[in-house]
Symmetry: C2
Subunit: 412 residues, 2 copies
Amino acid sequence: MTESEKVAENIAAVNLNNGSLEEDDDIVNPWNVESKSTTGVDYDKLIKRFGSSKIDQELIDRFEKITGKPPHHLIRRGIFFSHRDLHSILTLKEQGKPFYLYTGRGPSSGSLHMGHLIPFVLTKWLQETFDVPLVIQLTDDEKFLWKDLKLEEAMKMARENAKDIIAIGFDVNKTFIFSNLDYLGKCPNMYQNIIRIQKCVTFNQVKGIFGFGDSDPIGKIAFPAAQAAPCLSTSFPFIFGPAKVPCLIPCAIDQDPYFRMTRDVAPRLGFAKPALIHSTFFPALQGAQTKMSASDNNSAIFLTDTPKQIKTKINSKAFSGGRATVEEHRALGGDPDVDVPFQLLRFFLEDDDKLEAVRVAYKKGEMLTGEMKKLAIETISPIVEEHQRQRKLVTEEVLDKFMTLRKLEFSK
Amino acid sequence: MTESEKVAENIAAVNLNNGSLEEDDDIVNPWNVESKSTTGVDYDKLIKRFGSSKIDQELIDRFEKITGKPPHHLIRRGIFFSHRDLHSILTLKEQGKPFYLYTGRGPSSGSLHMGHLIPFVLTKWLQETFDVPLVIQLTDDEKFLWKDLKLEEAMKMARENAKDIIAIGFDVNKTFIFSNLDYLGKCPNMYQNIIRIQKCVTFNQVKGIFGFGDSDPIGKIAFPAAQAAPCLSTSFPFIFGPAKVPCLIPCAIDQDPYFRMTRDVAPRLGFAKPALIHSTFFPALQGAQTKMSASDNNSAIFLTDTPKQIKTKINSKAFSGGRATVEEHRALGGDPDVDVPFQLLRFFLEDDDKLEAVRVAYKKGEMLTGEMKKLAIETISPIVEEHQRQRKLVTEEVLDKFMTLRKLEFSK
């Protein structure tokens, strides 16, 4: 029985257009994330439903032991909370055997927002920690298929988004960035692996995993293979030659269906199952019931926002866990678990002690909503400003370098 | 209403796995051709069912008037019997406007057989007559998806088949040959057009046109777009630049479903509907109930067969329209319509007068089965021997030249 089949009943409950979702269940799929709870998705329940594993203290300890440095705060704080086969990747590291990182993004018009940073921030840290090659896929084909836009627009969006990603600070010598609509025409291996995968997956299977229906275009039905193909190292012969190298995928957990499908197929093609490390969702400013979305300007802090815009958005839009009046707040305390400014700090304030102090002070009512928002603004603004400084340095030439088919440098 | 929808009821009857086929209906689809009649498929009925147009005397006369030479015997004899928009192509020729030819083949292991020659023989003649560029697609991706073989084997078969095709005598300066598994990795435009087409076609539509089901792999479901894409001239920017040039497709009529689908999509993408010229099927040696098939060694005369093998096959396997005894044959005459040796002559004996004399003599009983077979052997053997001579000249270098992305020469 395959991984996808094993969780078939549970998967059905998370599918788009699937009526069998229970009243209280969170909707989590590549196209939609929605929770009825103000604290957001129930991630423990989601792990059970998806059949993944929790990142527990034992795994964190092993991670530290093998890499020789403390895990990133996004892992320590349970923001990356779930995994598949991360132990196997650590064993490879322990044995000095090669692997690579694969992550990606569905291009959006305009800038990335703060939530988009999360998988890339961890990926960058993993790349530095493991010293392995990294491939980043921009699914401009997916965007074109799902949205009412021209193919050329999707390709343009991919290039602009790639610049945002590069500005996070990836090492050009270790990173290959590609868009499907461009890369497929430059290397036959990618299309060949897509076709290999498409031979192994039936319509019934993608219907079960993604909830596709008979009236969906055949492009959507076939697309999951394009997101799966970079899990096969032979899709990048200029990096790996003919070697079958395992990969680790950092991503938000809504992307898991693609890789669950890939994990069923990979062994049939002679490859290791891709390992995964899953993040929670970055909350919308309005609250954790939905994730921050680029298509809702009010829900998101964009990487192009000015300090003034950030200040205004956090002050006026960010859902607060504080009480109705200062007096009440002082007396009863706030709720950091639903407080979006505090959640922003969980993602971006690196100092663990300070974060804990803030949490406790807010909960006790010693810290007011205005103070919490001020701290969030002071934490987020410099990150966005620094990104904007870096983004200016990413010229077309720099981008072309990242997108050039070439050998990458890595110790193994 | 689209072309595919218009004939939906009729199309249903020709689908693979479709139970609604009437007892007497011929099965005609890209994967199977079967008729209950010894004279083979009822082509007039098929034209009605497919909604195409008959090639009538008026069209043949116009063809001759515009090209200044008599139509090829394969057209004159009704072997190419059906078309879509051939009048529009003649008008383009008349006005000196550009168009191109597109044909293809699903690679097979081993050699091509005589039946495979037919669309290519006419294509070559059309190329010479019209002086236009020609693109030939080898669908190695299709073969890999449909058959139990390795991707590398499909690619190898494509190259070997391409050599057989080249040996027919195509002009390298006007012909581009490509295999999907190779070409897609060399030119992004092809994948981009495939995705554009896949966005316009739903699973419901390919289910209706090709009879795909829920348990089919997503590769099969998506494949029709790969056969459709060469109808868009922008799939070959090195030949046509950004121009939207109309195309004419010579093919056996079992391939019509692919192009019916394409004709529905092309206008939505700003292209002219591809025009088509359809051939009947080349009969199996055992009789016209099925077409000659490479997978049945006894049904086919291969381009690699020796004169002795050809002689033996025609003498011992070819279905005869003769009578049980010489006496009976002399008295009652034979039936050339079901006689496979005579059918071979219809396809390959160029002399109209001689063919008619043979037909009459056989029908009257003046010509015996042995004599008919002898004439068929004498007609086929030199064609096969000449092909083998030419085939020896097609080296890897010659093949690479045909498969190189480059400008083609043509008057317009």
